[in-house]
Amino acid sequence: MHKKLIVLLIVAVALAAGSALAATSGSGKVTLTLWHNYGTEANAVAAVNLAKAFEKAHPNISVKVVSQPAANYFALLQASAISKTGPDLGVMWTGLFAIKYQKFLLNLKPYFSSAEQSKINSLRYMAPNFDPSKGFLVMPLENQFYMGFYNKALLRKAGLSAAPRNWSELYAACAKLKAARVIPMVYGADPQAIQSSPYPWYDMSYLLAGIVSPAQWKDLYTGHMPWTSPRIAAQMTKWVSLRKKGCTNKDVLTKTNILGAFIKGKAAMISDGNWDAATFQKALGSKVAPFVLPFSDRPQKGVIQYSGDGFSVLKYSKHQKEAVEFLKFMMSAAGQKIIIAAGLIPDIKGYSTTNSLSTQMLDFAAKQGSTPYPMLDNVIQPEVVTTGQKQLDAAFGGDISVNAALKSLKATLDQLPADRKGSIYK
């Protein structure tokens, strides 16, 4: 009796194990984990919808989308990559951010044909050393803009018919808006921001675009144009004076929910990016319009237009084939349709947006003769970017001098080893 019971138990366990094994191998279902730092912005909508559509097209693959905090996303991604416990796919910023993390990222070149690669508009900035022959690390999600937005109704209320185009027009507009009891430009952070104070590189990109050509930005990387250059200092001084002249809210470093202030019509202008365009359009309708930040003595001719983000496959992923499949799906007509529907501007040739705000942004370079520049923080050393996030803000808030902030950037660059500021982007 006792023996029979034992035999029965063994058979039951064996059957259970066998059926479990059969379920695993039979279904062959793979789960991809995807991390993003988009909060609830348009990019997040696109990421979630891409995952859903991909699952539908690939019934054997499910995608678990995880929203990570924007403020320390890269810290989390790096820590998880070191311990090989992170996602299969992750949002990656392009340019030197991707190069910084390239040890963790799968080079995608072997997985995409030359024809497929040629469809990516900004392949250069996805590549090690910005050289596509060395492969590429990121599949871009969208074409992005650092952009100013203005409320036409508030400008009209102050007697202004158009957005300012240079420093003097900006200062004049500020005076009129102040007289009309409107905050001219709102600065601070929004709830989904990457830091609790303004991200200074939106403005810094336009400050530099106001004085040098795109090619000269490499000189900032190599140090041939020192951060303490008088031309940069002069631009910075004008920028810092915005707060002093009352062009901004007083609490530029600590104000929160600046998007809310702009949407509610408390501020006339905001320095932001196209990822919030859909939010502005939804709230303000035709009253909102984009403008290039007028940080130039002559009418600003630079526009910051660049594929700043996308998805990468992490090297340690056990499902690299499936993760690459997801990136291919992003490139497909179905994927691009989802990206466009979310209000983003596609970066794959042959696809375009129909959104009116996005079209206006594209027209700056396409029809109005503006020169496209990359985002400055994507083409200079991340260490300098980090220092800038602190010191440029401190200068903007009036806590340290412009020269002290710029010296700090220079000191950070000076401390880097020679091969991190040479001819090759590292």
């Binding site: 609790s196 609490d251 600590t254 991340p382 401190a394 340290i400």
Partner: protein, 308 residues
């Protein structure tokens, strides 16, 4: 008659007896056996990581590959202009420690004197201890913000022309962090002092009062001297908290800014490791932090021993 032997010889003999006694030897072996798991755990979870950190402090380490560079990381750290400010911030933070000890000590004395409603106050003052640093940070931001509670208080008492906007400036932001730190340590230190006061014999107080001692004399001549060990303990845990446990508070309140105004050594370590990806330099700063805390603690212990 056997001559009386000097005590040292007695001790020597007793020791030899213990060494040859099989029961004592067995006890020693069992004792060692019982301490092994503890030693293993401490070794694996404390000594080994500390050793690794010290090793990596001499390397260029990006989290994956490390290369021995000797003292170059220390030289790099010393020449880092921000590091000087970070050290300054830590030094200023130390100034909050006496306040974080003196306030709860005074309040503990009042509560120990069983003033009216002492049970209520004891609970209220202990409350911040049960609140997470993150929540405390958010409350503080609301309090110190430009249009926050502090500004509203000033407006309501007719001081609306004063705009401290403390989180917008380097030094005042650090002061805001220090005030928050003192407030959040209040409960812990209060309970420690109350526990200490409960150990003091009531008869000593009675005798002092019979001799005509007032409240201040009792506090300064009896309570505080008898609480010396408790003060020493609170000093050490407050120091360690200030240097190694304020990360989440700073992260929420100021993000280490404006500029590097509230970047402390532990925050700097996080930034170097996870923002800059320089784990070697972060390890170096970690060793500096470890040495700083150990040095201040040892100095404090030594000063108290000298007084004893």
């Amino acid at each position: 008659m056997e001559a009386e032997q000097p005590p040292s010889t007695w001790r020597h003999r007793r020791l030899r007896h213990r060494q040859t006694d099989p029961l004592a030897a067995q006890r020693r072996r069992v004792g060692l056996l019982f301490t092994l798991p503890g030693v293993g755990l401490i070794g694996a979870l404390l000594i080994y990581p500390i050793g690794q950190t010290v090793y990596h402090s001499f390397t260029s380490w990006d989290g994956i590959t490390s290369r021995w560079v000797g003292g170059a990381t220390y030289s790099h750290l010393v020449h880092n202009p921000e590091f000087t400010q970070v050290l300054e911030n830590n030094a200023i933070l130390v100034l909050a420690i006496p306040v974080a000890i003196a306030f709860p000590l005074a309040v503990a004395f009042l509560i120990h004197g069983k003033i009216r409603g002492w049970r209520f106050f004891r609970s209220v003052f202990f409350l911040p201890t049960a609140v997470s640093w993150v929540v405390i940070g958010f409350i503080s931001v609301r309090f110190f913000a430009n249009d926050g509670i502090l500004q509203h208080l000033l407006n309501n008492v007719g001081l609306g022309f004063v705009h401290p906007d403390m989180l917008s400036h380097e030094r005042s932001a650090l002061v805001a962090v220090m005030i928050t730190f003192v407030w959040s340590m209040f409960g812990t230190n209060l309970i420690i002092f109350l526990a200490g006061m409960a150990t003091i014999d009531e008869e000593i107080y009675d005798a002092a009062r019979v001799d005509g001692a007032g409240s201040f004399s009792v506090m300064f001549r009896i309570t505080i001297p008898l609480l010396k060990r408790f003060v020493q303990f609170t000093f050490i845990i407050t120091l360690i908290t200030a240097f190694t446990a304020l990360f989440s508070l700073i992260f929420v309140m100021t993000g280490g800014g404006p500029g590097y105004g509230t970047t402390t050594l532990e925050f700097f370590i996080y930034e170097q490791a996870f923002s800059a990806g320089d784990f070697g330099l972060a390890s170096t700063a970690g060793v500096v932090l470890f040495v700083a805390v150990a040095a201040v603690t040892l100095l404090q212990l030594r000063l108290l021993r000298i007084e004893d």
